[in-house]
Amino acid sequence: MVAEARIMKNGPLVLKGDFTIIDADGKEIKHHKTSLLCRCGASKNPPFCDGTHSKTGYLGN
């Protein structure tokens, strides 16, 4: 299965399948089968989405 990156309108970036994720410290994160990455910049658990976007009213294509 080809890996997929999908943008959720007003929400996170959804990664499905095999990706190598490298965090802001340069550390390789074990990539999950499905990961949601924060696009709003306000997650308390970056780089992952923690739902904060729905509280801030983040709007993003």
């Binding site: 299965m1 080809v2 890996a3 997929e4 990156a5 999908r6 943008i7 959720m8 309108k9 970036l13 990664l15 399948g17 095999d18 990706f19 190598t20 994720i21 490298i22 965090d23 802001a24 990539h31 990455l37 924060c38 696009r39 709003c40 910049g41 306000a42 970056p46 780089p47 976007h53 983040y58 993003g60 294509n61």
Partner: protein, 69 residues
């Protein structure tokens, strides 16, 4: 199970820059929020700060720290 990718091809990479973009690089299917899909080699910078004027793409707004009143 057969590995989907041709031998020697790396898995696509997602690199997160602190207070900056999310860089997607490699072969994968990219689907926008409007439903457009492209399956190919990509190198995409996505906004990770939430402030781009051109979402989902980075437009370097993250480099601007000053909020003008």
């Amino acid at each position: 199970m057969e590995i989907e990718n041709k031998s020697g091809v790396k898995t696509p990479e997602v690199k997160i820059l602190k207070d900056g973009p999310i860089i997607l690089k490699g072969f994968f299917r990219f689907r926008t929020s409007s439903g457009e899909e492209t399956e190919k080699e990509h190198e995409i910078l996505l906004c990770g700060c939430g402030k781009s004027g051109n979402k989902p793409y980075c437009d370097e707004t993250h480099k601007k720290n000053v909020i003008k009143s």
